[in-house]
């Protein structure tokens, strides 16, 4: 077969050259695109979204192919190699909208990771993002609104929906599950064991990746970093707003969680205390009297003036799991290391694919004893994101700056050992330390008794379980069964939507029978959202008009009921409800790019008209034609 085709191409190549010179003008062809997504075993919702969207796009005359990939391969294609047309997947999101900066700023278009995987570049948009980054107070809220409105207009990606997160827990061995968010380390600390004998906390985890790799920087293997969050400490812990669940009606949320007071947004962790000192700017930077002065700062090449300093006092006497002391040096090292994992040894910088936005506003770090002073180029709430980074031990990661080498394989520039190591065993300073693992079966963590939360004097939630056993269980149905049969205490990842109805039904049945039942369904708020991403590096996805029409072919409301069985919130802005501007609030339909059709049924004529209006053409067979 191969030999035949080689022979054929050799024998016809002379002829082909002639033909090619005639048709050398690029032909206007039918638009044919590949939707990259996860397989149903990896993410059931993604593939269903991709299929539904694909079917609608086909109806609009686009040739669609769906490329299913495993969890790691998907992230590698999208986030590292940027090898895709469009993709459908889940973004880790955040509870505050600051992640939009690294997600969409053009200066990150060439980097790997969640920073601008779309290759979206737009100077006007950059200025909105910079304004959002530097503005404080009420101005910040305005800047965020402006960014979100621009995003809805430009559609660098199409935000689809925020799925509701449900988890099943057992309360007979450990209780107090609602104290911390179960997608973060705080969900697994401070639990109340009924007796001190209950030493093992058992989690059923529906993702096998933690058993293969525990590198906090490896973007292919991390979702929101739950397991690495237990192993590595950050300086502070972001507080989830007291708004309760995302699923509930907006009416019963607290009036406004937007509060930039330091104590309301972060609680202390490795950093015992911190203060923010705003720079006094006489020469009119952001803060002119009337608040309109920021327009002077719109030059994209302008050097950013520092806006203030964040001084953090490190908790004393902390150590890593291997006994090394954790000092201010490690913190300074981590900030430096995340911005370039080669540490300037190499001409080609290799920033970390995770936490990029957290360290971007840090211009300089100075240390004095237990105090660290971060010079920042962003407003207080943005600068404080640096408090969330995992503190890496300098004596281990300092040796991971070399470009990784694998025999016989060419390694891309900027692929340092730090980015690809599986980091086993991980040495952090977190409340749990790594014990052992078996690939695709389990990961066992032991309580780290030297952790500062174990001290009498520290009133922070500590690990109550001696052992945390994370059992890898590939599907929600079997994870539920483990909790029901008392083989696990919690499903640590959110349940897939298609089982939620069954779980809720079982819960209400149990409530009717007895109230001493140990099973409980926990709903948590989330910033994570499903979206459709364009590779804006290539035509026609670089064209905002094209992207807008695509966005109008997606019936988010219908997808939420078909794919998520209603357990999701359709969105026009990829942020939590409290940050969504009124102009982009969901009103039963998308406020900016309403669906061209009704009840999931595309109005093909309207879609064609929209594409034609955007400057595209159809052939006589109804195929959308584009010039690549």
């Amino acid at each position: 077969m191969l030999a035949a085709s080689v022979g054929l191409s050799v024998s016809t190549s002379g002829c082909l050259r002639h033909v090619r010179s005639i048709v050398n003008r690029n032909e206007v062809e039918q638009l044919s695109l590949t939707i990259t997504t996860l397989s149903a075993d990896g993410d059931r919702e993604s593939i269903q979204l991709a299929q539904d969207i694909g079917a609608t796009l086909e109806a609009a005359g686009i040739d669609i192919e769906i490329d299913m990939q495993s969890r790691e391969a998907f992230r590698r294609s999208i986030l590292i190699n940027h090898d895709f047309d469009i993709y459908v997947g889940r973004h880790p999101g955040d509870i505050r909208p600051d992640f939009l900066y690294e997600t969409l700023h053009s200066k990150f278009a060439d980097e790997s990771g969640w920073q601008n995987p779309f290759g979206f570049t737009n100077l006007t948009f950059d200025t909105y993002l910079e304004r959002q980054q530097r503005a404080g107070g009420e101005e910040r809220e305005q800047a965020v609104n402006q960014t979100l409105e621009a995003l809805a207009l430009e559609q660098p990606f199409v935000p689809i929906c925020v799925p509701h997160e449900f988890r099943l827990v057992r309360t007979d061995r450990f209780d107090g599950w609602k104290q911390g968010h179960l997608a973060t380390r705080m969900g697994y600390l401070g639990l109340d064991p009924p007796t001190t004998e209950e030493a093992v906390l058992r989690a059923a985890h529906t993702d096998s990746r933690p058993s293969q790799n525990l590198n906090p920087l490896a973007v292919e293997f991390r979702n929101r970093g739950l397991v690495t969050g237990l192993l590595y400490d950050s300086l502070a812990v972001p507080r989830w707003s007291e708004g309760g669940t995302d699923a509930g009606d907006s009416d019963d949320e607290e009036p406004n969680g937007i509060d930039e007071d330091g104590d309301r947004t972060y609680s202390p962790w490795l950093g015992a205390d911190w203060t923010w000192n705003e720079n006094e700017n006489e020469d009119g930077d952001e803060r002119t009297e009337n608040g309109s002065g920021i327009d002077t700062d719109l030059d994209p090449d302008a050097d950013l003036e520092p806006t203030g300093t964040l001084t953090v006092t490190l908790r004393e006497g902390c150590q890593f799991h291997d006994g090394h002391e954790l000092t201010a040096d490690d913190v300074a090292f981590t900030v430096d290391f995340l911005s370039d994992t080669t540490r300037d040894d190499n001409e080609f910088p290799a920033p970390s694919p995770r936490y990029r936005g957290h360290i971007d506003p840090i211009a300089d770090v100075t240390k004095q004893g237990n105090e660290l002073e971060f010079t920042c180029t962003a407003s207080e709430p943005v600068a404080k994101r640096v408090l969330e980074i995992p503190i890496l031990p300098a004596h281990i990661w300092g040796e991971r700056t070399e470009t990784a080498s694998i025999p016989a394989i060419t390694v891309a520039d900027g692929t340092t050992e730090a980015l690809i190591t599986d980091n086993l065993p991980p040495i952090g300073s977190g409340p749990f330390q790594f014990e052992n693992r078996t690939q695709r079966e389990f990961v066992t963590l032991e309580r780290f008794d030297e952790h500062f939360t174990r001290r009498e004097s520290v009133a922070l939630p500590e690990a109550s379980a001696e052992t945390l056993r994370i059992r890898i269980d590939p599907r929600s149905t079997s994870a539920i069964e483990l909790v029901e049969t008392d083989e696990a205490d919690v499903t640590s990842l959110a349940l897939e939507s298609y089982v939620v109805d069954d779980v809720l039904e079982a819960e209400s049945e149990r409530e009717q029978i007895s109230d001493s039942d140990p099973l409980e369904v926990i709903e948590s708020s989330t910033g994570s959202f499903y979206h459709l991403g364009f590779n804006a590096r290539t035509a026609p996805f670089s064209n905002p008009r094209f992207r807008r029409v695509i966005a109008r072919l997606i019936d988010k409301e219908q997808l939420v009921s078909d794919v998520f069985y209603g357990h999701a919130r359709p969105i026009a802005a990829p942020v939590t409800r409290e940050w969504t501007p009124d102009s982009l609030a969901w009103t039963g339909t998308d406020p900016e790019t309403p669906f061209l059709g009704t009840d999931g049924e595309l109005d093909v004529e309207a879609a064609r008209a929209a594409f034609e209006e955007a400057g595209f053409r159809y052939d006589d067979q109804g195929r959308l034609r584009v010039r690549y």
Binding site: S39, A40, D41, R44, I47, Q48, Q51, E65, I66, D67, M68, S70, E72, A73, Q439, R440, P474, R475, T477, S478, E481, L482, E487, Y498
Partner: protein
């Protein structure tokens, strides 16, 4: 849970085996096997060693070959879908809880039984040729299947017809089976269907030996057809995988017939030894000449 489940499989298959052995093979052959197993083992040692080696390689490569496959494999899911469309959904016409149970049991327990039974049954024959052929056919199935799994990346229909197959999907109906099957299978290893090829191999052997084991032939055929249908019914394989599995079975059975007794291992060993001696002689003479 895995050990508990494994135990279940072991118990169920052992019961099936003992019943079938008594009914199909007969007491006489079994007692003869007990007397002669040593000599039969010796004649069949190369075939047994081959199968064990292939199974070991298979185990290693399923882990290691995965990344190789991810980097260089060809994605075929879309191709299969384009070729056969919604063919596997035809089996949804017979979907019912009873059918779910029947096909799940065929897929898990029936398959294990179907593979183990002929090994014992053919070992119980005084002529070891079918025993050795069977082991070689198994080895070929695994070896060729492994190469295909590395070359082609394809997801089974359950990843494409997510919604349609929810009712019959093996892992959702009986999540416990997931533990067993992930032990031996990855979700991208679908082309060809080894469940099909090995079942068809066993059925072909049953046909060829029907004069010795007349009762086994119908059992093997029914069971292997059930297993083939179950792979599609449960959303694990495409029709194409099953066809490829049948082709692979045909190929492996004929090749095993061709290979067995073609060479005598002792003769080969003898020849190798002779060659070695010759080589050593030339080397020593050469070195003597040099000095």
């Amino acid at each position: 849970m895995l050990t508990q489940l494994l135990l279940q499989v072991v118990v169920a298959v052992s019961i099936l085996l003992s019943v079938a052995l008594a009914g199909v093979v007969g007491r006489d052959r079994l007692s003869l096997l007990r007397e002669e197993w040593r000599s039969r083992l010796r004649t069949s040692a190369p075939a047994i060693a081959l199968l064990l080696a292939i199974l070991l390689l298979n185990r290693i490569m399923r882990q290691q070959g995965r990344s190789l496959s991810q980097d260089y494999g060809i994605h075929m899911t879309e191709v299969f879908y384009t070729i056969e469309g919604e063919f596997v959904l035809l089996f949804q016409a017979i979907a019912s809880p009873e059918a779910n149970t029947y096909f799940s049991i065929s897929y898990v327990y029936g398959y294990v039984f179907l593979l183990i039974f002929p090994v014992v049954a053919y070992a119980a024959r005084s002529k070891t040729i079918d025993f050795r052929r069977l082991l070689i056919a198994y080895s070929l199935n695994y070896a060729i299947g492994l190469v295909f799994y590395i070359l082609f990346i394809a997801y089974g229909p359950r990843n494409v017809f997510v919604e349609e197959l929810t009712q019959t999907m093996l892992y959702d109906n009986s999540p416990q089976y997931k533990y067993l099957t992930t032990e031996v299978n990855r979700n991208t290893n679908v082309f060809p269907s080894l469940h099909t090829s090995l079942s068809a191999t066993v059925a072909t052997f049953a046909y060829q030996t029907r004069s010795t084991y007349p009762r086994w032939f119908p059992i093997a055929v029914c069971l292997s057809i059930s297993i083939m249908i179950s792979t599609m019914y449960l959303g694990i394989h495409w029709g194409i995988d099953v066809l490829a599995g049948l082709a692979l079975a045909g190929f492996c059975v004929s090749l095993s017939t061709y290979l067995v007794d073609r060479w005598s291992l002792t003769a080969i060993l003898e020849q190798v030894r002779k060659r070695l001696h010759e080589y050593r002689d030339t080397v020593t003479t050469a070195s003597q000449e040099n000095s």
